[in-house]
Symmetry: C2
Subunit: 339 residues, 2 copies
Amino acid sequence: MVLTQRKETILKAIVGDYIDVAVPVGSESIATKHGLQLSSATIRNVMADLEAEGYIIRPHSSAGGVPSDKGYRYYVESLGGGEALSLEERMMIRHQFHQVAREFEEWTHLSAALLAQIAHNLGVASLPRARHSRLKRLELIAIQELLTLMVIIFQGANIKRELLNLEETASQQELDYTADRLSESLDGLTYPQIQAKDWGDSPLEKQVVKELVRLMQWQDEGDYEELHVDGLRHIFGQPEFSSGERVRTLMEVLEDKSFLQRVLQQIYQSKGIQVVIGSEIRDDALQHCSLVITGYGFPGDIKGVIGIIGPKRMNYARSISAVRYLSSLMDEMITEVYG
Amino acid sequence: MVLTQRKETILKAIVGDYIDVAVPVGSESIATKHGLQLSSATIRNVMADLEAEGYIIRPHSSAGGVPSDKGYRYYVESLGGGEALSLEERMMIRHQFHQVAREFEEWTHLSAALLAQIAHNLGVASLPRARHSRLKRLELIAIQELLTLMVIIFQGANIKRELLNLEETASQQELDYTADRLSESLDGLTYPQIQAKDWGDSPLEKQVVKELVRLMQWQDEGDYEELHVDGLRHIFGQPEFSSGERVRTLMEVLEDKSFLQRVLQQIYQSKGIQVVIGSEIRDDALQHCSLVITGYGFPGDIKGVIGIIGPKRMNYARSISAVRYLSSLMDEMITEVYG
DNA sequence: GTTAGCACTCTACCATCGAGAGTGCTAATA
DNA sequence: TATTAGCACTCTCGATGGTAGAGTGCTAAC
């Protein structure tokens, strides 16, 4: 599936121009703007070929060409590494991360915000999570006679809190004792390991462990941590989303978190930065969109996901660089925490 | 500012009809649809008065009337209690809350989602937070030699986690000891009280306390907890947001959390459910919107906020009932937790 | 293989026009 | 005096048609 030099040059010109101006591009403008030593007639011939081979589409019979998904795909493949972010941008990003380095709820907020800002599209980011969560520490705090707050701290600094209705009363001392005992004996264990252990007679302990296992199981089997989305304001500037209908379906997808996560999951299986274009996304609602997305964290174990969602007509080179840089930064930061 | 019986009836008819169909309403349709024993000519006379008094506006000289902000205001005031939610709806809501009762991260998600669903507009909700946060317990967990995870549990089950770069190495034992000591001596204190205490010589303790105070201060002085927004998909169905420009400014406001929080703060000062219409909101970007919103929690102490944002042309009666019911439910639930 | 020339196609824009909805006014009516 | 019928007037909205311009495809010449 490789094109001759000239076809490729012209296809890239078409895609590039269309990305810039969102208007079908004609043979004349290519001939003049790109310094090719070819007349518009020649370019028309080439474009006819490109259309026949499915790389471009014509909105109507006497209109210029717009890239098909196949055309975008060829364009993206031929980009190579993509242009790196400028030094100033990289420094700006590093600086901002430095500001929030200690509060890692902020990491995903910042990532999503920066991606949105750089790409002028949607930025998405989820916190990293271990595939098999391991307990680090457990706290039990009495709230009312039978109501207890259970705080679970996982390795990697993930935290869950949950209310627990005790079956029988317990003093704060008893709760502390139980929490300490459990923290010690369960340190570093996954939920199947916890489940496999032999539990004595203490009904309190039993109840807490049961709840703990339930929660860890639910968490490990679930999808990602919550996904942060930023940059909605940019999307509405794009001509492809000026009509109401597309915006609405896009919103429906974005608000149906489970759905978006399913899409991301499917993408995340593979390594490295993924670029998924239009119909390559399984879902109808995202036919007009492309994703530039990657997982990060320790391969196969801890995983999070960050990326960019936008119209197919996006700046892929820049988006890829941005996602690459931010994912490496996130990798760096969580390596410190998960040590 | 009270209208005669007839004027009021007609104004309410206009506002009600306009809310239904989003089209300027004419004298003829009022005369026929509302069973008034009046001819369209009479209604035209009344409408001329209403226009002169500023309750309605004409898009152009020979068009029907659309409510002004003043007209909406009168309509809302005259609604009285508003229609209650149906029994089925209330049971459905209660049931859903019951499902997530133990995980209160979910409370705001669910509230926002339900409000959005009921009102077919944006639902917003923030978690409750104490005005003066009080420490409940502190945990210190070694991650690397000089890197420690500090987990702070507040009264009311709010939790913060933060990374701490230690000035000198400390074993997990030392960290535990310090955390226990501090948890005990600081239990129930606010940050000024903590600051006022006399701190011994332990550099570790000093550092932890300093960081703790910084964080609590930052938190107490900040705005609300993060605000959850749901229902974007509904907004785009509304005719007033079909044009690109308004959507974009709305998005800009929604994504600028600090800004939205400022608006909400201003509103939250007062008690009970607030209905804020168009120009009554200080912000230009929200001129086309109305808010139905209320704080909840213990007055003057613990506060959160939930509400509905939509076009001025919203179903106020239903929105008010929904916000009222959900805020009472949230009150109920946090009363249990905060005791 | 490339290009100039030209007829053809399609869109986007503008002006025009008529139907329809709705008003304001006036005069007649209860 | 309050209400109503009647009517001329105003404004929007959608359809229609006509034109300029951009761009193509084809053919013949280079």
